[in-house]
Symmetry: C2
Subunit: 480 residues, 2 copies
């Protein structure tokens, strides 16, 4: 197993240096590379194929719930960005400014969209006239730019790909229902397709979106015990619709301001996939999102009939699954095994002369290393079942990991000790005061991730920080 040893040297072990492990995995599996401009990333074909699968899952669900896609310009005039007070304060420090078009200096600076509320509201105010046109249920897929000082591919980059939904409604209740519906779609795909369990809830005032009335979030826990905010959905109330003077004639013939939501998920989800499922040998991809669900590797492929049979099987399987064949002669089967293992392909199918004799193939599971003998007679059914098992097993493993790394702290001493010794989610009681939130952040580096919808009794009713009466059970963690 000399190949194995080589591999181990290639990727830094997770428990030795998790940050280096992440960098090794994303570069060596060719998911991504660093761009010439600091903080920007190139998403390579293998990484982009994962994004395409994520996009497809979300886009289908957006459309099923009545949303349509559209496209708004990349550039936003400075004067538009400034219309909503909280919004400009939140985003102005991190936008990129275009000052020249060709040889000419522009009369007004334009920012590259950091998010599109302002330009979309500007157009909505032009379009909307009557309650008959509501709700507006629109979304766009695009890239956004936020000038970040400290970056990591997928997790925090100066440009990333995402979708941003922007809807208008007649009532606050409808906007709130939309906000929660979209959060639930986010969670459902994250859990069922990406196999990542999520904690869902509301952001505190300190952590909410710049300009929002209320922000809801789904939070995942990574292998190293840090949290990753994985998707947010905002009830924007009438903050923007008033600032941008979006009005319409309501059912009573009165002029009214609509209620407004926005919501987004991004290429950050790929970072979550890597850090939740990966291991010392590289990526581990859930079958439903894997660009390649199974790879066929012929063994002793020079022997008569092996390649023919391998291609026959490929043809049969690729009607139903995403299949690759690796019959290159430049590398040994062992080397290939390691490569595809590193790439996280859920199933490796080995086919050699003896397998053909026995009318079988050997299926090796990436998630737990087990080898399963499958009969060629019912191969598609066998593979389907195995992929399902792998998908479920990855979710359960991730859930178990999160549960093991979720702690309860009843006082600040416990809180600090947990963070120092066994980082993870910390459930604690909170008085609702931003002062306490700030103090925890300053003293420990942990932030309030969310006020979960599922409140629990922790056996104490005192704020973790000030000791006063607590209003909510919340999740704290250090976060990406």
């Amino acid at each position: 197993m000399s190949n194995k040893k080589e591999k181990v040297r290639e990727i830094t072990p997770m428990d030795e240096d998790f940050s280096q492990w992440y960098t090794d995995v994303i570069l060596k599996t060719e998911l991504v590379d660093y761009a010439p401009v600091k903080g920007f990333m190139v998403i390579r074909p293998y990484g982009y194929a994962i994004w395409e699968n994520i996009q497809k899952e979300y886009d289908n669900r957006f459309k099923e719930t009545g949303h349509k896609n559209m496209y708004f310009p990349l550039l936003i005039p400075e004067s538009l960005l400034q219309k909503e007070k909280d919004h400009v304060e939140g985003f102005a420090p991190e936008v990129a400014w275009v000052t020249h078009g060709g040889d000419e200096e522009l009369g007004e600076r334009l920012c590259i969209r950091p998010t599109s509320e302002t330009i979309i509201c500007n157009m909505y105010s032009k379009w909307l006239t009557s309650w008959r046109e509501l709700p507006y249920l629109y979304n766009q897929w695009c890239s956004v730019v936020r000038w970040e000082k400290s970056t990591r591919p997928f997790l925090r980059t100066s440009e990333f790909l995402w979708q941003e939904g922007h809807t208008l409604h007649e009532t606050y209740e409808e906007a709130q229902a939309e906000t929660l519906q979209m959060l639930d779609i986010y969670r459902e795909v994250a859990e069922n397709i990406l196999a990542i369990p999520m904690v869902v809830g509301q952001k505190s005032e300190r952590e909410k979106f710049a300009g929002a009335y209320a922000t809801y979030t789904m939070e995942a826990l990574m292998y190293d015990g840090k949290a990753l905010q994985s998707g947010t959905s905002h009830n924007l109330g009438q903050h923007f619709t008033k600032a941008f003077d979006i009005t319409y004639t309501d059912r009573n013939g009165e002029i009214a301001y609509p209620y407004h939501t926005s919501w987004g998920v991004s290429t950050r989800l790929i970072g979550a996939l890597i850090m939740v499922h990966g291991d010392d040998n590289g990526l581990v991809l859930p079958p439903k999102v894997a660009p390649t669900q199974l790879v066929i590797i012929p063994v002793a492929q020079h022997k008569e009939g092996v390649l023919d049979k391998a291609y026959e099987i490929k043809k049969q399987l690729e009607k139903q699954f995403r299949v690759e064949m690796d019959d290159s002669e430049s590398y040994s089967p062992g080397w290939k095994f390691n490569q595809w293992e590193m790439k996280g392909v859920p199933i490796r199918l080995e086919i050699g002369p003896r397998d053909i004799e026995n009318n079988q193939v050997v299926a090796a599971r990436r998630d737990n290393g087990e080898k399963v003998i499958l009969s060629m007679d019912h191969l598609n059914e066998g593979i389907e079942k195995l992929l399902e098992e792998i998908q479920n097993s990855l979710y359960n493993k991730a859930l178990k990991m999160r549960e093991e790394k979720t702690y309860i702290a009843k006082n600040k001493q416990e809180f600090t000790k947990i963070l120092e010794t066994t980082p993870g989610f910390i459930k604690a009681m909170w008085c609702g005061d931003v002062e306490c939130e700030n103090k925890i952040k300053e003293d420990t580096g942990a932030t309030l991730r969310c006020i979960p919808f599922e409140q629990e009794d922790l056996g104490t009713h005192h704020c973790i920080c000030c000791g006063k009466e607590a209003k909510k059970m919340v999740y704290f963690a250090k976060a990406y």
Copy 2:
């Protein structure tokens, strides 16, 4: 038919003012709107749905021919843009420059990609090592920015959506085969899906892409007799690979530069759709690209059973087709007929009490206004056949239009007269000299659209401009 009259007033007749007709159609059908920044467009949901259909058709074919998608950064350092001499000369005057990130002035200006050859070559030079990795067959879907002085939505805008393929090959011949293969895929989708006949051929040196060895193009003729360059495919030779020092170890163990292609189609194709098929009542969309292939409009919908039956039919049809139901009570059927006609929906299905009695529906064709009675018993088959007929009929109509507007000029006098009286494609002989090309442009405003693959004998062998011996039969036209 008072509604009809209202409609005629809404959209300027094509023959009265084609430019105003175009503007009326794109705005009133809500395909697009003008953005706050001059020269930029907002692609509204109806326009974006057309783009999604175009994307899907091309993306499937790119993948079938072995290409994978990826994503490169929006911003390119000025120093990279300058590496290929012809390329920077062509693009530098029309790029947007980012000079500030947040509050800080950047050390080096960054341009928003006008096209991505330079940044992609920069990364390819880092990645490529061996002939075993070739060919590189990659593509990206994104937006690009080119600072245009005179703009029209879809046809020429400062930002547009497109795809750009970027491939590397071992030999010139392979790169040339790829260049022509992609041009043929462009043509095939344009003709079979968008129902737009194309002239395909090579661009002259004057008209080729900045930095290309050879550019190939597909050119369509619009209703007003002007040409629209609709997609281009470039054999870039080794111009960029040498400028960016992309090298690899070839089959003989020598260091070599690969051969390079790039190719793109854009949202401009939506402009072609509008100007080839549209009429005085608005859009006419070919079924294969129409976001809505048929709309069901219940007649006397308050009568018992009408709405139920209409919904039953919708449910049955939407398994196979893209169907909308318009059962709003705010508008009369006549008003609805006009709206959906303007939107270019290929088939309108009318269902009223008498139709239900007779076990039939009335299908009105958008392309020629004909009404067809379809039995409910074989409705799906009936609709399928009708959509096919409409698709073919639109292509044939467009081909006939182009043939009627394609002329032969044997000398400059004929050439000028055609342009002044009956604008269209002009086939003429050309000596191959750029001086003649420039002179024709200066004197008449027409440009050399392409040197078609299908050369014809025009009965003269003298250059249309200088009268010397001609080398090629070419197409001239005024163009968008």
